[in-house]
Amino acid sequence: MSVKTLTINGKTVTGLAGTSLFNTAWEAGIRIPRLCHIGGLSDIGACRLCLVEIEGRPRLHPACMTEVEEGMVVRTESERLHAHRKLIVELLFAEGNHVCAVCVSNGHCELQDLATSLGIDHVRVAYQHPRRPVDASHARFTLDLNRCVFCRRCMRVCDEVEGAHTLDVAGRGAELRLIADLGQSWGTAESCTSCGKCVQVCPTGALFAKGSAVGEMTKNRAFLQYIVTAREKHEWIRK
C-alpha cells in the first residue's frame, strides 16, 4: 500500500493511503476534537467537530472521513475552526438537558471535556429544555435521553460489533430519538443481548450502568480497540 506524505499544522506526517486524516493526525500526536468518531466503528461525519481546513479547498472537511492525499496541507486549528467548534458544543448543551451537577458522568464526560478544552464558560444560545424520556426498564442499564447528543456510537457498536442492531434512531431533526427495536421500552427489546457495549462507548451520561451515583460512571472504551484488533489482526493477547 502506498504511503502519502502531507503536512498537518506545519508538521510533515505520513499516512497509508486510505487512512483518514483524523487517524493520521492522531498517530502524529495531533489531537482533533471529536464526538461521533470513535476508533473501531465506522464513521458518519455528523458532529462536525473534527472539521479541518485543507489548502486549496473552499470547504471544511471532516477529518474522520477524509482520506490522506499526497501533498495535502491541513490545518486542524484556526480561529474559524475554534469558533465553529465552540458554537457546536454550545448548541449541544442547549439542545438537551445536560445538568452536570446531577449526572452520573459528571467529570468523566466527553461533552464536558470538550467544553472545558474549548474554553466555554457559558452557553450563548437559548436552552431548549426539551421533554425527553428516561428508560430505566433494562435490568442493568439506563438510557437517559436528556443527555443524548445523537453521536450514534451506541447504535453503531450495537450493529457493527455486537451484531444485534437493537438501537437505531427514529424521527428526524430536533425530534430525533434513540429507539430499541420497535420503540418499546429497552427492557423488553428482544434483540438486546445486554452486552453493555453501548454504555461503554456513550460519550455522556445518556447510557449508564444502574446503581451509579453522581460522577461515578466512568466508561471503558479500551474493549473496542481490543475486539477490533482481535478480529482484524487475530491478536487476542493484549500487549
Binding site: D159, L167, D168, D181, G183
Partner: protein
Amino acid sequence: MTQPPPSGRAPPATKDNRQKLFERAMSRQAYAGHALIEVLHTAQELFGHLTPELLREVALKLKLPPSRVLGVATFYNFFSLQPKAEHTAVVCLGTACYVAGAPQLVQALERRRCACAAADADKEAGPARLSVQSARCIGSCGLAPAVVLDGRILPRVSAAQLERELDKIGITA
C-alpha cells in the same frame, strides 16, 4: 397530502384480501430490504396506518432489524403510526400559498377541529373527525392558496369557502 401513491396494479382492497395483497406486494419486491419504503407505502395504503404488528411483519419478511424499520417509518412525513381521522384537510404552506394567506386557512381549520373535538369529548374513543395537516408545497402554486380536502384540491380558497366545504362533509362548527 393527496392520496398516497397508488400502486396502480393492485385490485381494490377489501378487509379480507388486504393481507394477501400485502404479501403479494412484498413478494413482488422479492422481499428485498431495499424495498422497505415501497413496502411501507403499500402497507399504509392497505391498512390506513402502520401498526406495530405491521412493522414487525415487515421486519421479519424483509429481514431487517425492527429498529431500522421504525427508524425509516418515522423519518418520512408520509408514514403515519396513528389511525387516520375521518376527514383530512391539508393546507399547502408553500411560499406562494403562504404569501396568499394560507396561515388564515390553518386557523379556520383548527377552529373547526377544536370545535369537533370538544363536541366529541364525551363520546367513545375513535378516530378523530378531522385532521388538519400542512404540506410543504403541493406544486399548485398557480392556485394559491390551496387546500386538499379528502384528496380534492380546493384552489384559491378563502376561509369562508373552506368553512362551507367543511359544512358539506359534516364538519360543523
